[in-house]
Symmetry: C2
Subunit: 299 residues, 2 copies
Amino acid sequence: MSLPSHVRLVEVGPRDGLQNEAQPISVADKVKLVDALTAAGLSYIEVGSFVSPKWVPQMAGSAEVFAHIQRKPGVTYGALAPNLRGFEDALAAGVKEVAVFAAASEAFSQRNINCSINESLERFAPIMAAAKQHGISVRGYVSCVLGCPYEGQIAPEQVAAVARELFAMGCYEVSLGDTIGTGTAGATRRMFEVVGAQVPRDKLAGHFHDTYGQAIANIYASLLEGIQVFDSSIAGLGGCPYAKGASGNVATEDVLYLLNGLGIETGIDMPALILAGQQICSVLGRPTGSRVAKARSAG
Amino acid sequence: MSLPSHVRLVEVGPRDGLQNEAQPISVADKVKLVDALTAAGLSYIEVGSFVSPKWVPQMAGSAEVFAHIQRKPGVTYGALAPNLRGFEDALAAGVKEVAVFAAASEAFSQRNINCSINESLERFAPIMAAAKQHGISVRGYVSCVLGCPYEGQIAPEQVAAVARELFAMGCYEVSLGDTIGTGTAGATRRMFEVVGAQVPRDKLAGHFHDTYGQAIANIYASLLEGIQVFDSSIAGLGGCPYAKGASGNVATEDVLYLLNGLGIETGIDMPALILAGQQICSVLGRPTGSRVAKARSAG
């Protein structure tokens, strides 16, 4: 199978990344990060999350971040909106695209968002209606697609059922997340085969964690299945605090290195990307999670 | 293309790994490492190197290590023997299999072993003859197969020429090494396609470094090309001190995780392997380079 000629990277560092770092950072530093990612050529940046700061203190100030970032034409600046209240806040902040979040595992859904999978989908219905009314695009996430910290293996058919529902509800794209990073290349391909029979492959994205060092191989496996959109996090920021041992969003730099090597277009500039990662790691006082950034800084 | 049902991992940690760690460790600790790797089910362990301790102080005592390890029937305990003097020392130490080392890059050959590629191959001739006479198997290494720190890109045809020569000289297997870790999945496949036209694919092995986070993807790409033997290093020990920024042999634990996920047989026990890695990292006072070992110890 031939590889796609172009891939879109969805940069989730400012949201999925920072949300899972130990301490909140200032609005000014978040704005600086988003602007640096824009400058690097990302065409999709998930900027923040409209949730209660009681639950996710790291995401406080998302509206202010949206108010201060430099928006570049053609770039999508998205936000997570887990409920109608969050959606309305996002709308008020001038957000043009939101994301909703479901799980492929019942146990994870219960423990992470405190309701069943079906209940979570029902809660999205008013968001979808309001989004349609206001001309807002909605992206869907499905977590635990290649394993659950509570249930273990997850059947691809279960992932397909949730993805199909999100797509049918109006999500223009469904991102399938290996939340705990236990997936390997063969399981990744089988999962996309099964889900791809229910949702067109050009409406699917892959979201991989590098917890077990498999993310880049899983992305390559996904490319072989015709997947053209991948979520990644600058400097490998974040992970998932609800999933044991599930640190490690795949680093955007390392994904870009793969795609550049394969001759796949992304529009992203590696040196500018590495610079964005260095800046945020300096703010956080943590080392980069990107092997490419490490190797380049050693050089 | 279907994946192989069985893969042999060549554990290079005690040689390629320790050789490139900052300080030498004791013979007793080396013996303990090799015995732990044997217990984990590895069928090939590169135990040491018969070179002048002036040049590679970390490999001093390789004969003593061979004298004290517990040899398990069916397991190959190999050693690097870069010249006839080294070969004779290896023979005296009871080594049954040796490895020789060439480069696919002229500049790297000159700087690393101080002679041209052709001169290095000529130097192997007496080793090959002596090995044949004593019934010793010889494994060949080719370095810089996907990039050179001095020359940049390396043509696959150049790799094929060196690999073909080593095979023709009597090496039963030729391991192709991405010494600086710059290879990506597509280049890996093209390289094996070109080399595979000159040397049977079941006589080739892949040796990947994770410097840019690509090793597991490159191994998956190699499996898709029918390659069934891979070198790896427990806990990701080592790298190459002569190649700028080239830290990071791929960790055996992470490769095993991929292979287990793909349902490919190796005969290796993951918990015992992780234990072997923890022990040597404790001796070296360094963190593991294996993401699997990190995730498991966090769990």
